[in-house]
Amino acid sequence: MHVGLMHYLILSALLFCTGLYGVVTRRNAVAILMGIELMLNAANINLVAFNRYVAPTAVGGQIFALVIITLAACEAAVGLALVLAAYRTLETTQVDEINIMKW
Amino acid sequence: MSWVLELLKAIGLTVLLFTFLAVVTAMMGVYAERKIAGWIQARLGPKHVGPQGLLQTVADTVKLLQKEHITPRRADVLMFNAAPVVVAVAALLDWVVIPFGTLGSRVLVVRDINIGVLYFSAMASVTVLGILTAGWSSNNKYALLGGLRSASQLISYELPLALGILWAAMVAGTLSTVGIVEAQIQQGGWFLFTLPPPIGRLGAPFGILAAVTFLVAATAEVNRVPFDLPEAESELVAGYFVEYTGMRFALFQLGEYGEMFGMAALATIMFLGGWAEPHLAPYLWVAVALGAVVVAAVILLTARHSLVIRPVLSLAVLTAAVGLLMSVGGHLPSIVWFLLKLFTLVFFLMWVRWTYPRLRLDQLLNLSWKVLLPLGLLNLLATGLVLTLGGR
């Protein structure tokens, strides 16, 4: 049995759902970011796998994967800066305690 | 079942590399470091175990092997045990892409992958994880501080390091380490002094600037003085590995020296032509030999009672011999050239370590972000411009 496109797609679906579970159940903002990173990785696996199996001579999928990795770095930097700023004023990183907008 | 063979080959090469790392870089590195430190501080260095203290490191290793493994009470045991392995393995993986020389038409390299230098910098960046793991899992405030300092330092200095690597990759037009050396052989000069034709020797300032940027960043990346804040003995009592004992401590040392030699090897490959033999006119080689003899004579006459007289004299004799051999058209094996250049760079790094005081954290970060990074970027830009205008 050969490894085909389907193997990668299913793996990436499982990884994506794992990340999603982390995002909806975690209280800590940093842990939520970790879940998002997992989801982005799942998307990247998809892109590279499509590149390899659907259009092997092109590099479009890899380009998009690289762009997503760059944007993930941006997202992590800005997200963590926000976490730090929130921690400085509210002294917590638990997202369900950051609720002053509700007042 | 070709993949079984591949796997066996990989395991064999790993064992070979690890032996090289443990014996050459860690044992000889520590010995050389202690000797050089001794000479610089007007001491003798290790002297009693074996001839000239050569077996001192072997004795130390045996001693470390016998020691008890102590795990702090509230440490995270799994992570605590994993950290030294991560550091040592990351240093080991660096060496996969380092070519040592040629044997016939074969290049002596574990694997010449087409993203060689990218792979190298990726593996070098994994080290920081091991350090951070060690710092956090020890449950010790000094260790944690050392780990955090190390993280900020390594992230800052990865950028100038990558810019230096990028510079060499751009000039050579390839990311493969073997390709970079071959590009230098083809143009007949090291990237340190020569850019590809038609620029040639006029490109020397660019090469020297790139090499200096890379070396400074590499020194910081391997946590050596003057950038050794993560393990500053006098304020953090050794930093992130303060809680480690016995062989785990030795693994950290192994990782550190393996990484340092790896950086020096990469610098050799990128800027000093790797295994390539230097091409100088015969009279220049004679001049090298004569210069070495003159230096030896001056030292003999003026500083006969100095502690360093023996090592300096033997170095001078070695240089004179190489110069004479080359001037009559002789050849040394390429691997000897590679090791000569490597050890020269390593000596330079050790010399720096025992000469300069430690920087403060803000000075350290300023140097990276305000000096090295703009310099590296400008140099990259200028070199690219010059190469393009020169018709590449």
Partner: protein
């Protein structure tokens, strides 16, 4: 045979630590578990003959993002001893949603006929990617650079706080 074995090993290396990431009660361990997961994905890229993406993956994800995450955790959480309740009351709901979504995606995937392209990837990957970035995808490249710059400034300004 070898390829399938490698795929299964890499899939396990990717998924098991990922589960630890989202379930572990120790946040630092969760962050460290990201590393094997990212390395597994790197292995998958190598299996897919995308070496350049694999190298960048290790450099950015393992070497930078994980370190950044750990850095912030250590700045905000304190030492090894602190154990806060890490999950909210949505655990059953979240688990159900995740399982349901995985089920739906897999059903959709298996019922779709995917086109399969012929040919093999260009031998020297990095050159092809570089050329594509500078020709067909130059707008994306520039836009990404701009986003990177903006987020750099934004992160510094946000994290710095008031003077």
């Amino acid at each position: 045979m070898g390829e399938l074995g490698a795929f299964i090993v890499l899939a396990l290396v990717t998924l098991i630590p990922a589960v630890v990431v989202v379930t572990s009660h120790n946040i630092v361990r969760a962050a460290f578990s990201l590393v094997p997961s990212f390395l597994g994905v790197t292995g998958l890229y190598i299996l897919l003959q995308a070496e350049f993406v694999a190298g960048i993956q290790v450099l950015i994800y393992v070497g930078a993002i994980t370190v950044l995450l750990l850095f912030v955790i250590m700045l905000t959480e304190g030492g090894t001893g602190v154990r806060l309740r890490q999950v909210n009351e949505q655990v059953p709901l979240g688990a159900m949603a995740a399982v349901w979504l995985a089920f739906v995606i897999i059903v959709i995937l298996t019922r779709t006929v995917w086109p399969v392209g012929a040919g093999s990837p260009p031998p020297y990957n990095a050159t092809a990617i570089g050329n594509a970035f500078m020709t067909d995808y130059v707008l994306i490249f520039e836009a990404t650079s701009l986003v990177l710059l903006v987020s750099l400034i934004g992160a510094i300004v946000t994290a710095r706080g008031e003077e």
